[in-house]
Structures are given as structure tokens and as C-alpha cells.
């Protein structure tokens, strides 16, 4: 009986040892894009502006804004991993802006008589994936970070607060 007791304890320990997992989405995020400081980052910025016109139409703009939001989110995540908190935060803000742009285009598409059911599903899955990434990111970034630029007064970056705000933006679409 004692042997079985050990087994019972082992199962309990293993049970608590497992890491908590968030609701995961099958939505696939892109690879990290060229990052600030790279020559290709400048090309990417130009391409981003050109693509804004290439993706015309309400569904095109839906695709464009979601794509850019995805890219900036992955950029933010990568930069946070390298402890580039200021750049990471800027990327996250851009991702937020693109994400909030999506819904108006979806509404426009609906007004134009286009079927948006599939797009709504994609947006929901995208939001879910973004939240999943943001929550994981929050685990390894400090709550605040003091950014000390040369010859200027320091700035406090509220990383957790910003991440929570980004999650809140995406939560509206769930």
C-alpha cells in the first residue's frame, strides 16, 4: 500500500508541475520581420507604405491592417526578448494602431454587401493568438523599465501596463 501512496504523490507532483497553458489559437503569426537598425527595416517601412495602396478595398484593408498588426506584434515580442524595451514598446503601439484599424474596414465591407463571417472568425482567432503571445511576453518582461537616453531625463516605461492595454484592445474582438 505504501508503494501506491508514493505513486499517488508522484502523480500529484507531476500534476502541479505542468505549466498553466492559455487558450491557444491555430492562427499562425509571421516570422519576425527585419528589425530597427537593419537596412532591410528601412525597405520594410517603404514597402509598408506602398502596400497600404496595393491592398485597396475594404477586404484588402482588412488583410493589410491585420498583416501589419501581426508583423509589429512579432517585432515587439522579438525586441522584448532582446531586452530592447523602448523599441519593443513602440512596435507594440504600432501593432495596436493597426489592430484597431481592422474593425472599421470590416464594417465598411458589410455595408458594401460583402460577406464578412469568415473575416470575423479570422479576426477573432487573430485576437486570441495576439493575447496568447502578449500574456507569454508579460511573463518575462519587467513591470517597469527606466529608459535613460543620453543627455536627456529618464523615462519610465510601464511595460506591464502597456501589454495589458494591448490585451484589452484585442479582448474586445473575442
Amino acid at each position: 500500500m505504501k508503494h501506491y501512496l508514493w505513486l499517488f504523490f508522484l502523480i500529484i507532483i507531476l500534476f502541479f508541475k505542468t505549466t498553466p497553458s492559455f487558450a491557444e489559437s491555430s492562427y499562425v503569426l509571421p516570422y519576425p520581420p527585419p528589425l530597427p537598425g537593419s537596412f532591410f527595416y528601412k525597405i520594410r517601412l517603404v514597402s509598408e507604405q506602398i502596400q497600404k495602396y496595393w491592398y485597396f478595398g475594404s477586404l484588402g484593408q482588412f488583410a493589410y491592417n491585420l498583416k501589419q498588426s501581426d508583423k509589429y506584434l512579432v517585432q515587439a515580442k522579438t525586441l522584448f526578448e532582446y531586452k530592447q524595451y523602448l523599441l519593443g514598446l513602440q512596435a507594440l503601439k504600432k501593432s495596436d494602431i493597426y489592430f484597431t484599424n481592422i474593425l472599421p474596414y470590416l464594417i465598411k465591407a458589410k455595408k458594401e454587401g460583402k460577406d464578412i463571417i469568415q473575416k470575423q472568425k479570422i479576426l477573432k482567432e487573430g485576437a486570441l493568438k495576439h493575447i496568447e503571445v502578449l500574456r507569454k511576453t508579460k511573463q518575462y518582461v519587467p513591470e517597469t523599465f527606466v529608459w535613460q537616453p543620453e543627455r536627456l531625463s529618464p523615462t519610465i516605461l510601464n511595460l506591464w501596463k502597456s501589454i495589458e492595454e494591448s490585451i484589452a484592445i484585442r479582448n474586445k474582438y473575442l
Binding site: 491592398y55 485597396f56 478595398g57 484588402g60 488583410a63 454587401g113 460583402k114 460577406d115
Partner: protein, 378 residues
Amino acid sequence: MKKILFIAYTFFLVILTLFSYAFVDPNLSYLEGLYSEFAFKYRQQTTFLYVLIIFLFFIFYFLFLWLLKKRHLNSKDVIWLICVTVILLLFSYPAMLSYDIFNYIATAKVLFFYHENPYIIMPIEFTKDLLLSFTHAANKIALYGPVWIILSVVPYCMGFGQFLLILLNLKLFTVLFYVGTTYLVWKISKNIFSVVLFSLNPLIIIEILVSGHNDIVMIFFALLSFFLLMKKRIIVAFFFLFLAILIKYATLFLIPVFFYTVWKLFKKQKVDWEKIYIASSLSMFVIFLLSPLREEIYPWYAIWFLPFVSLVHKSKMLLYIALAFSFGLLLRYVPFMLFGTHFGLTPFLKTAVTFIPVFFVLIYIFFKDKLWLKIFSR
């Protein structure tokens, strides 16, 4: 005799037009009244009739060429033959062998009706659209170059949203380019035999006048480019070649020939146009044979080289191979027509029927020109 032949040919075209309606798609609600399910239910009979039509078509074609050679046909007769072919087949059902014409409409609709970029948004995303029930490549973004998409505004907008009118307009549109290409073949060759070789070729007729493939638009601009090059209008010629490339990218293979000719013109050297058109034919042959790397050899890809070959018909080997391909490629539809599937034996049979006529022609050339003697006497 000639009169009887012409009447028989007219009657044959009427039969072909009627036969094309046996293939009306069951989901094509716009032609609901004409749906007979014949081609889908009686596959053996349909295949037999189709093969018979192809054989008869080639018999007519070779008869016209023979009569022309014997000077029993004149240019007026040829114009009459082209006119009657164009007028009758304009009313044939275009999706008899290929559904591409529906793709053209779907792509144009994405841009001009939904105001979305067809290179980003697929027709399938407009789930309520009736076109989806019979368009076969609705799950793909635009397959054609931007110039084609822009040009398609003409037939699309002239249709005022009426599907059948748009369909007819698209056919009319390709007919205009067919007539234009025929005219260019005449202007370049000044030879009525070349005109008949191109314009009355059964593959050209079926793929352009029945199926309405846009390859003719690309070839028209490519040929126009070479025609202008002959007139030494290099910049305008390049502009039209550029347009051709932006319709379908196959004409990219004409660039080396084009620039070689330009170089010759700059050097003020004599241009051997016969050689230029042979090189153009071969270039288009190469891209035609490379097409399986992308998808497969579709019968209408022969439109890429046939106009050039018709300009250099004195090169018998090239001509015989081109004609053998014309015949074999039209038989390529047979396995699917018979079995109703793209799997199993169909892919093998498609390849076999495409290349067997070419193989026989090569054997014929080998023995006729005593190539074997030349080879083995070395």
C-alpha cells in the same frame, strides 16, 4: 465543288456550335434552360462526337490548305471562311473545354464590381456570388498579368452587370484580337497561305473562338511588337512587347529575340526576318514545353507558337511539329471527357495523346528527309 465544301464547312460549324451546348454546366443558372446533362451522362457518345469533330475539322483544314496551294482558293474565299467561322462560333458555349472564361469574369468582377485587388482577394471570398457555383479557379488570386485585368474592364463594363452579355462581350473581345492577329500575320508575311495556316487551324479556332482564351491578346501585342520592329519603330515595339508580357508572362521568352533584332537594327545590319520568326517560334516552343513545371501543358498554350510558325511555314519540320501538336493537344481533352476524372489513367493518356502525333511526325521527317542516312553516314 468549292461551293459544296463551303456549305459543308458552314454546316459543320453549326453542328460544332450546337455540340458545345452539350457541355453546359449544371450549376450555370444563367443557361438553365439549355442544360441537357448530355456531356456528363453520355460520356462515350460525347467523346466519340468530339473526336469525330476534331478529325473533320482537320480534314477541312488540310483541304483548305491543299486548295489554296492548288490556287483553287483566293483571298476572298479565305476572308469568307474566316468570317463565317467567327460569326457562327461567336455564339458557341465557351466553357465546352475550359472554364477560363469564367475566371476572367470573376477576376474582373473582384476589381470592377467589388473594388478589391484581385491579386490579394480571391473570388471565393464573396461567398454569396452566383459566379462561385460554376467558376473553377475561384480559390486563386488573379492568374493573369495586370494589363489583361485592366483590358477586361471593356467587356465587363459593357455587359452592364448582365452575366450573359459579359460572356458574349468577352468572346467578342477575343474575336477582335483574333481578327487583329490574322491581319498582322497577313501584313508580316504577305502570304495568304500563312493566314490560312494560322486562322483556320482547328486548335486556334477552338481555343480562341469557342473557349475565348486571352492568350490571343498577348500574342496580338507580341506580333504587333515584331511588326513595328520591322518598321524600325523600336520604342513603340518595345512598349507593345511589354504590354504582351503583362498580359501573360510567357512572352518574356521573346525578349532575347527582340533585343537581338534591336541590336542588329542599331548596327544597321541586315535582319533576316525568316530567322527571327524561327527563333521566336522556338522560344515560344521552349516556354510551351516548360509549362509542366508550373502546372501542365494546356492545349491553348499552342497559341503561343502557332502564329510565329505560320510566318515561317517554309521550315517544314517546324510546321509539321506545330500541326502535330495542334492535333494532339485537342485530343488532350478526350481522357477527361471519357472518364470524367483527372486521376487514374487520365494524366498518362493526356500526355500520350499529346505527344504521339508529334512522335509520328518526327519518324516521318526522319525517313522522308533521309535524316537517318545523314546521321549514319557521318
